[in-house]
Amino acid sequence: MNAALTLTVGMARSWVTLYTLRLPLEIRESRRSEIDSDLWEQQWLAARRGDPALGTAIEVLSRMLLGIFDDLIWRLEAGVSVTKGQISVNDTWPMRIGFIALMVPLLLLVANGLGMVLGSGEFDNFQEQILWGLSFLVAPLVTAVGLWLCRTRPKLGLGLVVGGALTTALLMFWMAFITVPLAVVVIAFAIKRSGLAIWPFRPGTPRAA
């Protein structure tokens, strides 16, 4: 199997694993098995037809990226249905909307990094391409994972967000006047989401005068 196809199929599987984390076993396994089957059928059909592997890889990637928003909505709905009556202060609708609003650009940055690894953009040599591509791929991915983990593992999640967001901002140093404030916003949101008592106005307490 072509390396690009292996990579995109792996990404699609990893994404399903990520957004189904902490769901009840039955729901989680059902979604993972269904996507596994879909990916297998797509590769099998492409191989049978003799379609180019790179084209199939791009289609798998497109299907994953274009479905991210629906995946997140599905995850929120599935999460709500199993935790009804246990919604905490950090699980309110504004927090969920904020979470999605920050996840979408982060995942687009991840896609951009993947594009670099796969060959888009102009670089002097292959090593430079891989180095920049992986940096652009990993930094926002770490931020996104950190943001996801903030509620369940606050310190780990926040650490990942701080590291990832600042690295992402520094990677795009030529537009730091935009990326640094955005990184600060992401970190602030992560602190709020984590519920740690380092937010300027602590959750559940009146704002300081």
């Binding site: 996507i35 879909d38 297998w40 059928e41 289609e59 497109s62 274009l66 991210i68 995946d71 599905w74």
Partner: protein
Amino acid sequence: MRRKAGSLVPLEISILDTGIELAVRGAPYFHGFLIAKEIKESEDARLLTAHGTLYKALDRMQKAGLLESEWEDPLAAAADGRPRRRLYRVTVAGATALAKARAPERVGATLKPETGSATP
């Protein structure tokens, strides 16, 4: 914004339409990738329906009773050397919902005047 209860979005119409078409062709059960492929071919689309969009719609339609599903026998899948499929089928409620969704289109088509035709 919430959609009107009982109404179908275009993807749901496509899924029901394709599911019924497959049943007419003698294959009442379909899996996610098959329906995505059939929709792509019938609509001459450039891409297959995105994973998230497709499976969220299938999940929603099943909860609404428009589809029913069952997991394939793992032994049958293993014999073919592939992961097992989740097989869906359009229910009577699904077919009825599709007919209702199609009704306004038919009425519109009936009322549409034919250009150049002789009218009494």
